[in-house]
């Protein structure tokens, strides 16, 4: 259902870009599409809240970044933290997927992945926002320059190039 809403937003943006004649409105339409896609990306990483046991909470008390540190990480005690090995598929785990070790404990990385949203789409969205910021700035500045030249924002009147 949220995906459908997201799709609806996308369609609204597309409709706006296709039908509206004002250049600024076209830009707005494109941006609406852009945000629809961003919303979609964010929703991909969504993780429903999970109830944790006390020990699990203890385990996760360190910051996520420290837990998810890269290849060469040593904590304060000098011990090497286990590597966060992410398999290629489905980064988000549900409780059924957890594998317990011989002590009946789940590994920290699994817990981490069970309780946090997928961070990758957020990084993607951040990048996408930066890019859309750049293209928005360029688009708006070209809109303004075009307005200076043609004296109108009506895209159907800006058609010197045809044929």
């Amino acid at each position: 259902m949220p995906y459908a809403l997201c799709f609806l937003l996308f369609m609204i943006g597309l409709y706006c870009a296709v039908v509206k004649k004002n250049m600024v409105k076209i830009v707005i339409g494109i941006m609406v599409m852009e945000y629809a896609v961003n919303l979609f990306l964010i929703m991909l990483g969504y993780q429903a809240p999970v109830q944790l046991t006390k020990s699990e909470k203890q385990l996760l008390s360190t910051t996520p970044i420290a837990a998810g540190q890269g290849p060469v990480v040593s904590d304060e005690t000098g011990q090497t933290e286990e590597k966060l090995s992410v398999p290629s598929v489905a980064p988000i785990l549900s409780r059924e997927d957890l594998i317990e070790d011989e002590n009946g404990q789940v590994k920290i990385s699994q817990l981490f992945r069970m309780t946090t949203v997928d961070p990758l789409p957020q990084a993607l969205v951040l990048t996408a926002i930066v890019i859309s910021l750049g293209s928005l700035a360029l688009m708006i500045s070209i809109c303004i320059r075009t307005y200076e030249k043609y004296g109108t924002f009506d895209i159907t009147e800006i058609r010197r190039l045809k044929g």
């Binding site: 910051t63 970044i65 420290a66 890269g70 060469v72 990480v73 904590d75 304060e76 951040l126 930066v130 910021l133 700035a137 708006i140 500045s141 303004i144 320059r145 307005y147 200076e148 004296g151």
Partner: protein, 149 residues
């Protein structure tokens, strides 16, 4: 642009410092708390945007000339790329975190090159975002064509 009333001007000149400080904080602690170069950069830029609104473009121009701004912009980008290249020189590959052994966990000095990159990004984003807003605000109908055909 003449700017706004005295109240606005006074308050914004005080708040400016706070905002800048906040931006710098966000940038520097990017590797520890939510935030980072991009967010901090935006905050930095917003402080100058506020000044621009309050005092007018000319005032900001004096404070932060466009040429300097665009130079900062470039410098940020170059610095970021250079950090990547330094990874190649001192470490194993590009973007290699060659400083990662320094500092301790969860302290300000940690995470190797990531804070450095954050600073570079903050510089870049702050400068370019301000540049974008400033330039967009200077467009006017009938402004003479400064670029030739």
């Amino acid at each position: 642009m003449k700017g706004m009333t005295v109240i606005v001007k006074t308050i914004s000149s005080w708040v400016k410092v706070l905002i800048i400080l906040f931006g710098i904080y966000i940038i520097l602690f990017g590797h520890l708390t939510p935030g980072g170069g991009f967010a901090g950069g935006v905050i930095l830029a917003s402080s100058y945007v506020m000044l621009m609104l309050a005092f007018g473009r000319e005032f900001v121009q004096k404070d932060l000339p466009l040429s300097l701004d665009s130079k900062l912009d470039c410098l940020g980008a170059v610095a970021f790329a250079m950090i990547a290249v330094l990874g190649y020189v001192f470490g194993k590959s590009f973007f290699d975190n060659f400083l990662s052994q320094f500092g301790r966990h969860l302290r300000l000095i940690s995470s190797g090159t990531i804070p450095l990159s954050n600073i570079a990004i903050g510089l870049k984003v702050g400068a370019s975002l301000f540049l974008v807003i400033f330039i967009l605000s200077t467009f006017r109908r009938d402004s003479s064509d400064d670029k030739q055909e």
